[in-house]
């Protein structure tokens, strides 16, 4: 997809932006923990993504029917309790389809109950949309999560174990076990996020007037700032004096 095609079909891409340009993990920085820690193999990634899909989609969709006159605190409690109840069949399903995987995923499988899309984003984004639009938006957000966790899982499994879905790969002779540790997860996700920024900067060329002012210390980062704005240099005491001297 080139930038001209993107500009011509921007409204369509805005509808499905949860998949790529507003990706849950790479752009919003949400649900990072399971991707960083336990997506050390493709199978783990798929199992986690499946749990995430079921819990997030049904919880956000069903809780959208809760009347808005109920206080926000109670709506959140109902949402997490619903997700907790939904976790029971979901965990059974994971155990049925991926025997032994839930043990490897440890606490990260139940932690999907309080994932950021359910707790934070459902009220701030999804519940403000119409039901069909919300379902489509949720679908693409979930698809974006699938893409990231599967890529990270596959890369780490090949690089760190020399296998893919448990099958030995002949071309990997010296796997690096360190890739399976959390710090590598952070770095790999960081590089993927940079790749996404690069592509986004290509699709949406940076406005040269978009200068980030650091003086008030409240600038946004990460989530809202792609394309990355340039830094407006702070005027230090030395540069001010130099300016005065030059004027004189």
């Amino acid at each position: 997809m080139n930038n001209r095609f993107y500009r011509e079909h921007k409204s369509v891409f805005d509808t499905i932006d949860g998949f790529l340009l507003k990706n849950t993990v790479l752009e919003k920085g949400l649900v990072v923990a399971p991707v960083v820690v336990v997506s050390s193999s493709l199978k783990n990634g798929v199992a986690l993504a499946l749990a995430f899909s079921v819990l997030t989609f049904f919880t956000v969709f069903v809780t959208s029917f809760i009347p808005k006159n109920i206080p926000h605190s109670l709506r959140v409690i109902i949402a997490v309790l619903f997700a907790g109840a939904l976790y029971i069949p979901t965990a059974m399903l994971i155990d049925l389809w991926f025997p032994g995987t839930s043990y490897q995923l440890g606490v990260f499988l139940p932690l999907m109950i309080t994932n950021s899309l359910i707790v934070w984003r459902s009220e701030s984004r999804f519940h403000k949309e119409t039901k069909p639009r919300m379902a489509l938006d949720l679908f693409f957000h979930i698809l974006g999560f699938w893409a990231v966790i599967c890529v990270v899982g596959a890369v780490r499994e090949v690089w760190g174990n020399g296998t893919l879905w448990g099958n030995q790969l002949a071309f990997v002779e010296n796997p690096i076990m360190g890739v399976l540790l959390p710090f590598s997860g952070f770095i790999i996700v960081g590089f993927l996020a940079a790749l996404l920024h690069k592509y986004r900067n290509y699709l949406i060329p940076m406005d040269k007037d978009d200068i980030l002012d650091l003086s008030d210390g409240t600038q946004p980062f990460g989530y809202q700032t792609v394309p990355a704005p340039a830094i407006k240099p702070k005027k230090t005491q030395a540069s001010l004096q130099k300016g005065v001297a030059a004027d004189e």
């Binding site: 109950i113 934070w120 959390p182 590598s184 770095i187 960081g190 980062f221 990460g222 700032t225 792609v226």
Partner: protein
Amino acid sequence: MNDFENTVGMFLSNCFTMSLVMLLVENMIFSRALGTSTALVIIRKKNSLLLFGSILTVITVLAGIVTFLLEPVIKEFPNAQYYRPLIYVAAISVVYLLALVVCGYFPERLKSKVKPMIHISAFNCVVLGTLLLVAGEQMTLGSSIGFGLGAGIGFTLATFFISVAYNYLYSVAIPRAFRGFPVLLIYIGLLSLAFYGLVGHQLPY
């Protein structure tokens, strides 16, 4: 009296040891990435870091105590692993409501600051993670409290380390594609590696 002193000494010793372990060896963010999303949200509000950390620490300590009390009952049930999260989410909800009620008695100025943070600090991976991790170990009351204390303080410390980089995320020295969120993740990864080495681990080959 001697028995009482021994018991108190053992309690404090367990509490302190587990706090240190959670602070340095098993730091919530650098070792388990738990609460990374929450930390990323909080560092955008730099002034509130200490207040948020305090609220979160109180909630994780309460979570540790709740787990200590509930776990002996839960583990007697068959297939407890499936409905344990639901019970703990319900427990967090009760703690959350209690926190909101207590917050109601605060002076207006403090209440307006604390109330929005209670929501973020109650329902996140750090608190539920603390409950589930404590449930996975057979801990004493002192260890459970220490676990919660170390988890909360460790999270706050890690968030502080991350926030140090905040003003440099858009430095012109950073390649454009990496500015902002990508370089922050790489920075957290390097800190995580540093903590991994600091406690004496060696990289596997």
